[in-house]
Amino acid sequence: MTGQGRLAAWGIGLAALVALPFLYRDPYHLHILVLILIWSFAYTSWSMMGRFGLVSLGHGGFMGIGAYVTALLWNHLGLTPWIGIPIGMVAAGALALIVGYPCFRFRITGHYFVLVTLALSGIVLQVITATRDYTGGSLGYTPDRASGNRLLALQFDDKTTWYLIALAVWLFGIVVWHWVDRSMARYALEAISEDEDAAAAAGVDVTAEKLKITLLSALMTALAGAIYCQYQMFITPDTVSGIAVSLQMVFAAIVGGLFVSLGPTVGAIITIMLAESLRIGFGTKAVGWDNLVYGLLLVLFIIFLPKGILGSLLDRLKKPQRKVTRAHEQEAVEIARPGA
């Protein structure tokens, strides 16, 4: 596709998406669409790091912080989410920097990075559960209903409004993805994911580049958590934080395709549609079946289609099959130990 054609396709697609809720008003289907858009945004945020070999299982933690900080500030201090969400994002970003800086500085990569971030989401989950006097623990938490201005409280009963908000947030995520894709940072990060030492020797500030993308990714994930909280008006530690949520992000991004901008969105569509159709088809008997299918798909995809559905499709469509794939798509970096 030429540049103009691609732009036109995006424009038409967007116009159709914006027009949709005004033509078609089934609340259930709109609800599913809103969920897909919000989770797509979260998965896109994860994939911004994941595509450069920075596999984080800590994003459940960032999402939980975004959701809980916003809700707690609203309930306890009466602070509007318009201020609460940025505070939640800053909190998640600060945590990302606190954990990320030593990780990158001391060259914690590969398995070790995955497990450190796993500990991070474990901590956030346990802290939310342990401070049950404020957060309701594992029973969940509900932001108070606004008595006055709905806009100020960011609470709307109308599905169309939420659809448009979610669409805007999702679009923002895609735009940021493309912005990173076109920036110098992308080349720096690809170099880092292939060989950290060589990248550093070529003048790339490894720690700074990794920190920037981690911060961006954490901020966006926290925003996704806050928006999810405002939309659902009910959060539990297990739905917005913890290892299961982190794995779910990884899973969706990989199924859809890590290396294309719409990959995580395709992943979100597939996972949420799958869960919903199983739920409708089997009712309460379906408890557990959706995860069974997820898990099987995840294993099969990693073995047979590591680039994901959309990634593999796009590869097929591109006429000149590029034989040499970029090394970071095939091989992760060896674990580098400090002083080695």
């Binding site: 954990v99 398995h111 450190v116 995840l298 091989e331 130990r337």
Partner: protein, 293 residues
């Protein structure tokens, strides 16, 4: 002496000893995971779920088929060993040349599969063996026999693995492969067979841990999440693949959880353990016992 006892009051001592007993089982879990990592260079994220399946195996063998505990235990160990070998054969073997992250995530998928399989097949009820072991009173302190038994069995299991690794030809081959995986194939060792044996051995250790944990905890599909993450952290803290480091780290973690739980809620014990882990990662990124080169 009395002053000493006043400072270390009886609950503290009890918590310390309970921590040591818990450490035994954690060390057993960490040993299995370390073995897999050291030899095959793969992290089984789903390791705790294998233990969970083993616990269900024990539950059904004892409760439904009426087998005695000591007959059911070897069967369970065998079952989980077969599961471990199957996991290697079906999931890890096709991915051996793939990036390590992919192997990690594939076993993450297996985690989902095992968890939801248990949910679908056994439901989400909490089940227990119904074996109530007596409590040993020592001074003012109480220790359950279940903890003592599992500590003892864990130690025996670890010694058995140690002897296997040092005294048998296969064990020597396993240790050799963990040192240099390329050269051993040239020395006439069938690496695929060794990998399969190691996976079965790792599974068997998970099975043994399951037999012991089922005495201490109720079984439910998500029980793996309560000790799975801790096991990984122990292995990383000890240095992935480093058996002795893992052993020490298991006791350090068990003490932190036990003492943290004494002063506050059990969750704070876990929070402390996680936080300790992150701090330690920055001080000793390659594990507790890593030599500074």
């Amino acid at each position: 002496m009395q002053a000493f006892l006043d400072v270390f009051d009886i609950y503290l001592l009890e918590a310390v000893i309970n921590g040591i007993l818990l450490g035994g089982v954690l060390a057993l879990l960490a040993l299995g995971l370390n073995l897999i990592f050291g030899v095959i260079d793969v992290t089984w994220i789903c390791y705790a779920e294998l233990v969970m399946i083993g616990m269900y195996g024990m539950y059904f063998l004892v409760q439904y088929y009426g087998l005695s505990y000591f007959v059911a235990a070897p069967l369970t160990i065998l079952l989980v060993a077969v599961l471990g070998a199957a996991l290697h054969y079906l999931v890890i073997a096709p991915l051996l040349t793939a990036p390590p992250i992919n192997q990690l995530l594939a076993t993450g998928g297996v985690l989902f599969v095992l968890q939801s399989f248990a949910t679908v097949a056994f439901g989400i009820d909490f089940r227990n063996l119904g074996i109530r072991l007596p409590v040993l009173a020592f001074g003012d302190m109480n220790f359950s026999y279940a903890r003592l038994l599992s500590f003892g069995a864990a130690l025996v299991g670890m010694v058995a693995v140690y002897l296997f690794m040092t005294r048998t030809f296969t064990g020597t081959a396993i240790r050799a492969i963990s040192q240099d995986r390329q050269i051993m194939a040239l020395m006439g060792v069938d690496t695929r067979r060794i990998y399969l044996i190691t996976s079965a051995l790792g599974g068997a250790l998970a099975g043994l841990a399951a037999c012991l944990l089922v005495l201490l905890y109720d079984v439910h599909p998500f029980v793996g999440l309560s000790f799975g993450p801790i096991t990984f952290l122990i292995c990383v803290l000890g240095g992935l693949g480093n058996f002795i480091g893992g052993f020490i780290a298991a006791f350090v973690f068990a003490e932190i959880i036990s003492l943290g739980g004494l002063f506050s809620d059990l969750e704070w014990g876990y929070v402390l353990a996680f936080a300790f882990f992150i701090v330690m990662m920055f001080i000793r990124p390659a594990g507790l016992l890593a030599r500074r080169r």
